[in-house]
Symmetry: C2
Subunit: 427 residues, 2 copies
């Protein structure tokens, strides 16, 4: 059980989690700008963040969105994967720099200016990461003017200020940490909306001092992201900018690969859960576990069909155990996928209560009352106080058959507040 009763309570915990591993420094600053694509009276604020290794490192990894309109930072990041060494990451919020005119040129120019400010660091040793409105251009001039402040503010104490700077509609900053060998893994993510299905977080930055070689970092990052950040869904939209970057300073001794994997998975699963319980307008986090599938991909698809069904999501939001919609969502997926399927072999359970088994629904008034109370007890405060309230989830279990593959996916309900936050996100 993990819950916090106040922001101060949470920040105390975060202070401990955010201590940077050896060999890292970071910094943040802010600026104001007028977007050329919108007529507005007041300038918009933008935050910049910088994560920097003391020395360039050959040991880094990154995974990106599969969206076919990726942001300029993603296009640049893919090229950086071929570089010998990386030094750091420049992040901005507010504008995601996706297919804006001259977007890639803007980003490269900012990285070059940052590199010069850092003292002859080549732009090619820096990643960029951007989140925000799609299609607008970066305010290059205002950002360049802010870079000296960013460089001047570098220090090696805590990642928390970066966690704050990358927030958009997040209600609280997210940091997770795991000790591993004589070092640690410390990571932050921003999430909120547009979370699914590949690279489920828009931005995630992972710092470690454990000396793991590049090849292992890359394999383990892909494996762990697939089973954590890629197993959550808020609104089934995969963003143009989803990015996770892992940097190692190599200052602490290497550990066995399985040990590193376990620690990385723990950190990323923690962030994935934080993203879900802080999703836009979230009232309930659903935890859907599908077992008995032929292959893992089937289990993932069935679980996603449930958490992405607007009818399931709205019923859960209303604490309404309209469980027929869960079964319908399974049948909808199986039918569209053209999969053969025997309804008699499936079991569906919510909160430990059997709702479908042996080929028919098993519903009565007593279960209705029980499930309604269960949903109410799992509710999060949709006004979203700036700390995680509790870690209770709406647990849905589906047994598809007698085979061995399984998967778990986290999802959110669909509330008035989700609509409100997304109907005019930019203003």
């Amino acid at each position: 059980m993990e819950s916090f009763t106040s922001e101060a309570d949470y920040l105390k915990e975060l202070a401990g989690r955010s201590v940077l591993p050896e060999g890292f420094r970071c910094s943040t600053t802010s600026l104001e700008f007028y977007p050329r694509e919108r007529s507005i009276e007041k300038p918009l604020p933008m935050s910049l963040a910088l994560i920097l290794l003391d020395q360039p490192s050959p040991d880094f990894a990154a995974v990106f969105t599969r969206n076919r309109f990726p942001g300029a930072p993603v296009l640049i990041g893919r090229k950086r994967l071929a570089r010998q060494r990386i030094r750091g990451i420049l992040v901005n919020n507010k504008i995601s720099n996706v297919f804006a005119p001259h977007g890639e040129e803007d980003a490269e120019s900012l990285l070059a200016a940052l590199g010069a400010g850092l003292g002859s660091v080549p732009a090619e040793e820096l990643f960029a990461a951007s989140t925000g409105v799609i299609g607008w251009s970066l305010p290059r001039k205002e950002m360049e003017e802010a870079l000296p402040r960013l460089v001047a503010g570098l220090d090696g104490s805590s990642l928390l200020k970066v966690a704050r700077a990358i927030m958009t509609t997040d209600a609280f900053p997210k940091v997770r940490r795991a000790a591993v060998g004589r070092g640690s893994i410390v990571a932050t993510a921003k999430g909120a909306g547009m979370i699914e299905p590949n690279m489920a977080t828009m931005l995630c930055f992972i710092c470690t001092d454990v000396a793991m070689p590049r090849e292992i970092l890359r394999k383990e990052l892909s494996w762990c992201v697939e089973r954590s950040l890629n197993r959550i869904s808020v609104d089934s939209d995969q963003s143009t900018s989803d990015t996770a970057i892992l940097l190692s300073s190599g200052r602490a001794p290497a550990v066995p690969r399985t040990e590193f994997r376990a620690a990385l998975r723990e950190v990323l699963s923690g962030l994935a859960f934080d993203i879900m319980r802080n999703a836009e307008g979230v009232g309930h986090v659903m935890r859907v576990k599908v077992t008995g599938a032929d292959v893992e991909a089937t289990a993932v698809s069935v679980a996603r069909a449930i958490v992405n069904s607007p009818l399931v999501k709205t019923a859960i939001f209303g604490n309404d155990p309209n469980v027929g919609r869960i079964v319908s969502a399974i049948g909808d997926y199986m039918g569209n996928a053209g999969r053969p399927f025997d309804p008699a072999g499936i079991t569906v359970r919510m909160g430990g209560v059997d709702i479908f088994a042996g080929g028919s629904f098993l519903l009565d008034a007593g279960k209705e009352v029980k499930l309604s109370a269960y949903l109410k007890e799992r509710l999060l405060d949709t006004r979203r106080p700036p700390w995680p309230q509790h870690d209770r989830t709406v647990d849905i279990k589906v047994v598809l058959g007698a085979l061995a593959a399984e998967a778990e996916v986290l999802g959110s309900d669909l509330s008035y507040d989700y609509v409100r936050e997304n109907a005019d996100y930019r203003s």
Copy 2:
């Protein structure tokens, strides 16, 4: 342009559209019941409707949902397709009779009782159709007691009472008519939510007196449904009960097949549009046309990706021309489908305004103001007066490339009222 200024205005139009073709009668009645699956104080109301041919006819067609948990009426209906002759359709709302214990037995028993009441009509000559909560059992006793009233009420004047009886969260009844040769096609549908992607309406009943043979009716119904009711989406859920049934009395002379197809498509496209502009909580109807695709299926998938994106839907609801989300939805689909794709070859337009072309966004403050006004002008009253307000849509055009395939899909925005209607639909 088609719009109505009051309910009386609309009902006057509907009266003309609803005149039954030769050889049909219909009837409706209502009842009250206590569902055994829910503890409630007041009984729930249910409507029954009956559409009856004066004589059994060999000329009928039906298409059903592909959901793998189909309702008992769908399972029964598929068997009926092999029968020599059909006499009519019994419809109920409130409970969809999906995998309830003994659901198929309940439905067959009701059809047998109805057949007896009609005077020795075999149950096998009757279709059933049910809409409503999934997983609950039909109140068989109360429904049987209501059947004599249903039979006694049969008359041959108007389909309008059936259009009313099958409404669930629909705000107005839907009837469309087309004259064809010396006969007509008259049809009604219920829609509202859970509309996508195959058999986009939950229930649709089509009566004609034109003497077209069974084989042609079946081919033309499938062809026309695919290009009308299957090209709309409210919430991307395909229901367990989606059904369209077409009956011919054969009382008017046959017409050329292309003429019949054109009339049937006109009727079904009209109903599809009525369903969309009366969807749960709808504020805007989106009309997405995708051209220049390799095959029609690609064009349909891209259009669906746009109308089903929660981020696009909420932005449109807020009259917020956050058009980057449209392009992101295209890229998300193309990436997940693993399709090769050249962003430089695509053009995206909203309301006649170019927003993406030549490999980058083309946005400025003037376009923002113009598109914002355009969205406001296309808005429907979300309080949903009981008549169709206007037929203005938010027109989005996507040119994928230089190839010839194209498709059009209708979608709805995502509003507070959608969430409200679905968070406790049953109470």
